[in-house]
Structure formats: C-alpha cells, structure tokens
C-alpha cells in the first residue's frame, strides 16, 4: 500500500472508530442478545437451579408424570446433619444427639415413620404429638424452593430424589434461572398478534410521515422559490424552527397544544365543544399528531435540500422554459421536478431509514398510545427490552425486534443503493496515488 493510502486511512480512523463503537458493536451485540432469553428474571450473568410452584406448574403443563412431580415436591424424610441441627435448635441438643445416634443416614418415606422413630427415643422423649409432628417436619427433604448453585449439585439432588432419568433434562431446563441460548424468540415474536400490529403501525408511520415530509418539503421549496428573496428566507426560517427546537420542548408544546386544558380545547370550548385530549382521544387523532410532529421536522430538511437544488438549476433554463411558453405549473412539472429527481430520491431513502428506527417523538408524545395504536416497531423494541410498565425487561426479545429492524433497514438500503445506481456515483480519486 502506498503512503497516501495510509494517510487516507488515518484521516478516516476517527470515523471508523465511531462506526465501530456506535454501529457495528451494537449491531453485533443485538444479534447476540436476540438469540438469548435474557430478561430481568434471568439476569445477564449465569443462574442457579431452583424449582418453585410456577416451575412445577410449567412441568405439569409440559406433561411430566404426576409421580415424578410428587417425587420433586416430597422427596421423603432424611436424617442428616442439617435436620439434626434444626432439631437441636428447637428441642435441645440431647434429643438431637440421641436421635442422631439411632437413625443418622436413614430415609423415611412418610412423616408418620419419622414420628414413630421419634417416639422410640428412650432417654429424651418428645411427649406431645404436635411437637413430634413439628420435629418430623424438620427432616423433610424436598427439591422445592431449594437453590442449587451448580448443575452437578442439582443433578445430585435429582439422583437422590430418585427422579427418573428421562424426566431430568426437562426439569433441569425449567429449574435453571439464568439465560440460555435460544432461537425461540423469532417464532415467539411472530406468534404474537401485537407484533403484526407493530409492523402495521410502522408501515402507517413511515408511509404517511414520509409522504408528508417529501411533499410538504417540495411544496415549501417550490413556493419559496417563486417568492421575493426576503419573504422566501423568512418563510424558510419559520419552517426551520421545529428542527432547531429541542425535541423535548417541541413535544411539550404539542402536548400543551392538544391537552384537555390546552390550546385546541380552550379555543373550542368557546364554541361549546367539551374539552378533551386531542392527541390521545382517538387513534386517528394520535396518528395525525404523530405524522404532523415528525412531518414538520422532516419537511424542513426536505425544504432546505430541495431549495438549494432548485437554485442550482441555471436561470437561463427557467427563462428558456418561459419563452418556450410554459406556464408556472408546466415549468414546475417539466423543468424543476425532473431535475430534483436525485434530491427527492435521496430525501426519500434517507428519511425511510431514519423513520424506521426513530421513535423519540412518538415516545415523548403518545408513548405508543392510545392502547398501543401508535406503538411502532422501534418503540416496541425499546419498550420490550429497556422500559416497560411490567418491569420485566426482556432483553432477548427486545433485541430480536431490533435485529429484525436492522435486517429490514439493510435490505431497504440495498434496494435504495440499487435505485441510486450507487456504483456510478462513486468517482475514482482525482489524484493518482
């Protein structure tokens, strides 16, 4: 490689590092998380093995034989050090010592057997039946609600409880509290009705906002092009305001505008219309607000790009079309619009990408409401993985949503690059290395 190429690489390196850190690594991590069942419940580190009531129900649902379930729940009564210690604490050391001497290591199937053994204590009898019952209970050994820090420990416990070999893998799987690799997220995701709702919402969001952005941006650019310079720049500045406003402030103003004590309600109350939340009262209103909020921001960008593209058209070409007899509409249609082809394509593709992944305005305005009507895919990914009301953050499932979005985005970029005929846009370096 020549020295100039290294120099180019050196100049590029800050960008490469940023791309690596903020694009490649997150994408790779997303791909990684998407194939796990990580959630708040599993944690992100390894887990333990524990069987609880809900685990037992899951096993029952999975068709585990009732006998095995019984074995898990009541694995019998074992006279061991732990039981004796508990006995000593509750009933005194002498009783524990004597009972230990007689029965250590024995396993009783039923509590009654333990009680009988307790009755057999000669020097330190427990007199009350109720006490004996309580004492027998101390030796009950069940797998329920016991934490096993490692797999061998859990397997040993299963062995000890005489659980049939065939049932063990399923029990182990249910008992594990950590995350595991799984491809089930994808199937699960598409089995959810809400997923299709998110897809539909995203479609509505992108199509309507994009149309608004491009068409309104075009309208502004062309309209201001025909205005005297002073008026034109005033209008452009006004339409640029939403973009330079801090997003939170911008949304707060929209909320004030639409709240039940806000501008619209206040004005309409003068006409006898009952105040209501105009943003969230119906799905239609929610969508209208979302499209307008995003549209006004997006349109300003289209306006700037289109305006400069129009100004790049040589004035003699516009003069020519006028002396050729074209009126304003014909001039726009035949001369200006065809020459805006590339800027329009650029804005369309660029905005498609950013709209697919953007949810900040929706998050701030409706947060997906009312009733999930404006919950778009990206917002759903965010909600699932990072921020939801239930509090069980499903990192794995959320990452699956995000990964699918990345795939869709990549496919769309490829399609647009093809449309742009990207290879033809690449120019060889003018200075030979």
């Amino acid at each position: 490689m020549q020295r100039s190429s290294w120099l180019g690489l050196a100049f590029l390196s800050p960008a490469l590092i940023v791309v690596l850190l903020f694009f490649m690594v997150p994408v790779v991590l997303t791909g990684f998380f998407a194939f796990t069942n990580m959630s708040t419940a599993t944690g992100v580190k390894g887990g333990e093995y524990v069987l609880n009531a809900s685990g037992l129900r899951a096993l029952a649902d999975a068709g585990l034989p009732a006998k095995t379930l019984d074995q898990i729940e009541g694995a019998g009564y074992r006279v061991d050090a732990r039981g004796l210690e508990a006995l000593a604490a509750d009933f005194g050391q002498p009783i524990a010592d004597e009972f230990g001497k007689l029965h250590t290591g024995e396993v009783f199937a039923k509590r009654r057997d333990v009680e009988r053994a307790l009755k057999g204590l000669r020097s330190n009898p427990i007199r009350k039946t109720r006490d004996r019952k309580a004492a027998a209970e101390l030796f009950k050994r069940s797998m329920m609600n016991e934490r096993f820090p490692t797999l061998p420990a859990f397997e040993a416990a299963l062995e000890e409880a005489k659980i049939p070999e065939a049932d063990r893998p399923l029990i182990t799987k249910v008992a594990y509290t950590g995350w595991v690799w799984t491809a089930e997220n994808f199937g699960f995701l598409f089995s959810l009705e809400s997923t299709w709702q998110y897809a539909k919402n995203t479609g509505i969001y992108v199509v309507f906002t994009l149309s608004f952005n491009v068409l309104f941006g075009l309208f502004l650019a062309i309209a201001t092009f025909y205005l005297p310079a002073g008026q034109a720049s005033t209008f452009r500045a006004i339409w640029f305001l939403p973009r330079i406003l801090p997003p939170v402030l911008y949304i707060v103003m929209w909320r004030w505008f639409t709240w039940d004590t806000g501008f619209i309600s206040t004005v309409l109350s003068g006409f006898g219309v009952a105040p209501k939340n105009w943003m969230l009262d119906t799905e239609f209103h929610a969508w209208t607000t979302i499209v307008l909020i995003n549209g006004f921001v997006g349109a300003s960008m289209g306006m700037i790009v289109f305006s400069s593209a129009i100004r790049a058209i040589p004035s003699s070409m516009l003069y020519a079309s006028e002396v050729d007899g074209a009126n304003r509409l014909q001039q726009i249609w035949h001369i200006i619009l065809p020459q805006l082809r590339w800027p329009i394509l650029f804005i369309t593709s660029y905005q498609t990408m950013s709209l697919l992944t953007s949810f900040e305005y929706i998050y701030l305005a409706t947060d997906g409401g009312p009733g999930g009507a404006t919950e778009v895919w990206a917002l759903a990914a965010f909600h699932t993985a990072l921020n939801n009301y239930g509090g069980n953050l499903q990192y794995g499932l959320g990452a699956t949503y995000a990964l699918l979005l990345v795939v869709i985005g990549l496919l769309a970029s490829l399609a647009y690059l093809r449309l742009f005929n990207f290879r033809n846009l690449l120019i060889k370096p003018r200075i030979e290395g």
Binding site: Y319, S321, V323, H334, P338
Partner: protein
C-alpha cells in the same frame, strides 16, 4: 414582424442600465446588437422576450403592444448563450417542449420536430441527451427549439460564444441561412464585430446603454459616427493619431509634422484637439501622404502581414499588407496614408 422599442428604460435596483432607448427593427431583418460587455445589449434582448420587464417605455411587435404581456405569450424564440437545453430530456423532447406546453397533438409535434430537425441538420440525433452532443450540435438543437413553434421573432444571445473558431464560422453562415430561409425577424446579441458584420442586415452598436449608431455593416465600417464605433469595428483595429487643428491640416501631438486634411472634412478652430482614425488597409507603402516611422511589431497572419509602425512622436499606426513585403522589425519606413480615407473626430469623439 416589425419590432419597435420606444423610450425603453431599464434599471436594476438603483443602477440604470438603459435609459430612454428607441429602436426599430424591420420585419424579416436580422439586426445585431453589438457592444462591449455591460453595454446593455443582453438586457435589451431579455426585455424584448419578456424575461426582463421594462421600467418605462413601450414595446410593439407589429402593431401589437406587448409591453405588459408575459414572455409565455409573446411567441418569441430565444437561443441562449449556454443554449439552456433541458438536460433530462432528449433532443426530440427538447425541441418538442414549446409544442408540448402548447398542447399540440402528438402527430403535429412529431411532424414539426422532424421538419425543424431536418432544417438544422440534426435529424439523426433526436434520441440523444444534450450531454451526449457536441457544442455545435447543442447549438443546433437550441436553434431548432427556438424555431419549432414558428415564432414571430428569433432572439440570439451570443449564440456562437461557446463554440470553437472553426465551428463558429460554420454556424455563422448556418444561422444566417436558416434566418433567411424562414424569413424571421431576428435580433443577434454579440460582442464580436465580425459576427455582427457577417451575419446581420443592420448593426446597432451600443455603449453604456445607448445606441451609438444604427446602420448597415458596410456603412458603419466606412462611415462611423464616432471614434467608439470606428474603434469597435475592424480587425485589426483602427489606429488613432492625436493632434490639434492647425494651418493646413492637423499637427500631430509632440511633433512638427502636419498632416493635410481632405477638403471634405471640416476642421474646428485652430488649436482644438482632433483625432484621426486610420484603418490598417489605408496605411500602405505606396500611398501618397507619407509619414516616417519605425516598424515596432510584425505579426504574420498567413495571407497577410500586420505591421505596427511607431511614429517619431510615439503614436502607433497599423498597416496590413499582402504577404511578401520584405520589411523587418526595426526597419525605418516612410509609408503613406490614403488621405481621402482618413476619419477625423473632434475632442468628444464625434465625427467631423
């Protein structure tokens, strides 16, 4: 169609470019607006086609007052300096554009575009994009587009400025041929005097927003009304001698030499400043009004040779002679001026 410009004034902001100009262009005539850059010739052209609105004055096409009529409705064809072809349309669509916006029928458009393309000899280029055409071809397309809807008037804004020398010669006669073939009234804006003289019936020479002289090329060359006009026309250009009116003619500045003045010229009072304009072809070795000097510059132009002769007082005369003279740089010569062809001007530059 006859064009009359009456008392035309045009200002851009506070700068008045053209003040109270009147001009009459006859039907079927090709007129050149000739002048240095910034003289207002293009402004006049754009006012005729309606791109610029007149601040005051009237514009008539024939009997029709078009002063307030938009350029779309004036039925004027314009060829712009950079041709202003529509880059996204092919040649056919470019030429068809004026017809298309007029909503002619498809068959009509096809026929007319074909006819006009044949007239300007680009019949086989119709499917190409402007970017795939040479300068001369683009020029022809622009001309075809301007002519296709049979305009009353054809306006040409420096149409040859972007062509190379050879193509310029070719297109010069080509445009003239087409103009004469169609019989259209045409206005040519140019800063090139050769173009103006070779293509046009009449020339309006402009300077600083005013028409200095309006006449046929020959008349303007031989009988200029001012030293500006005399200096603008002719290549190699006319040479001027400064002096004062004296007994028996003009005494050259800083010199004892006095040039006798032909009887046709009315000299002012003695002592008043005078300029003589002498064209290179009238300063030759065998003319009778001899004047001494030294050859200070020789330029071989092939068929002819151009000499600069520095006179004793430092003034320079030019001479253009047929190839074959044996004069060299630094030779002292005693050549003569054709006395009856001297153009004399007063201090203000007006012809005497």
């Amino acid at each position: 169609m006859r064009i009359s410009i009456e008392n035309f004034t045009k200002a851009f902001g506070t700068t008045t470019v053209i003040k109270d100009m009147s001009l009459e262009i006859n039907s079927g005539e090709m007129l050149a607006l000739l002048g240095p850059s910034g003289c207002g010739k293009s402004t006049t052209l754009f006012a005729i086609c309606g791109i610029h609105r007149m601040n005051s004055g009237r514009l008539l096409f024939g009997e029709r007052d078009v002063t307030r009529i938009s350029s779309q409705q004036r039925n004027v064809g314009v060829v712009f300096q950079n041709y202003a072809l529509y880059p996204h349309m092919n040649v056919f669509d470019n030429i068809a554009f004026p017809l298309k916006v007029r909503r002619d029928t498809r068959a009509d458009i096809e026929r007319k575009v074909k006819d006009i393309a044949d007239l300007v000899h680009i019949g086989e280029l119709l499917h190409r994009k402007p970017a795939e055409l040479s300068g001369g071809q683009q020029q022809r397309v622009a001309l075809a587009r301007a002519l296709v809807r049979e305009p009353d008037i054809l306006l040409l804004d420096e149409p040859l400025a972007n062509l190379d020398a050879k193509l310029r010669l070719e297109m010069r006669s080509e445009i003239r041929r087409i103009q004469q073939q169609t019989g259209i009234t045409a206005v040519l804006v140019t800063h090139d005097q050769v173009e103006a003289m070779s293509m046009c019936d009449r020339i309006a020479i402009m300077d600083q927003g005013k028409i200095m002289q309006l006449s046929s090329p020959k008349e303007m060359y031989e009988d200029p009304s001012s030293d500006f006009v005399a200096g603008f026309l002719g290549n190699p250009p006319i040479a001027f001698l400064e002096g004062v009116a004296a007994e028996g003619g003009m005494r050259l500045a800083n010199s004892e030499v006095t040039l006798p003045v032909p009887a046709a010229i009315n000299l002012p009072d003695h002592g008043a400043a005078v300029r003589f304009g002498i064209r290179p072809e009238f300063f030759q070795p065998d003319n009778d009004l001899k004047i001494k000097g030294r050859i200070s510059f020789v330029e071989t132009q092939g068929r002819e040779e151009l000499y600069d002769v520095t006179l004793e007082n430092g003034s320079v005369l030019r001479s253009i002679q047929s190839q074959g003279g044996s004069f060299k740089l630094g030779d002292n010569v005693n050549w003569g001026i054709a006395g009856d062809r001297i153009l004399a001007f007063d201090a203000a530059g007006n012809r005497l």
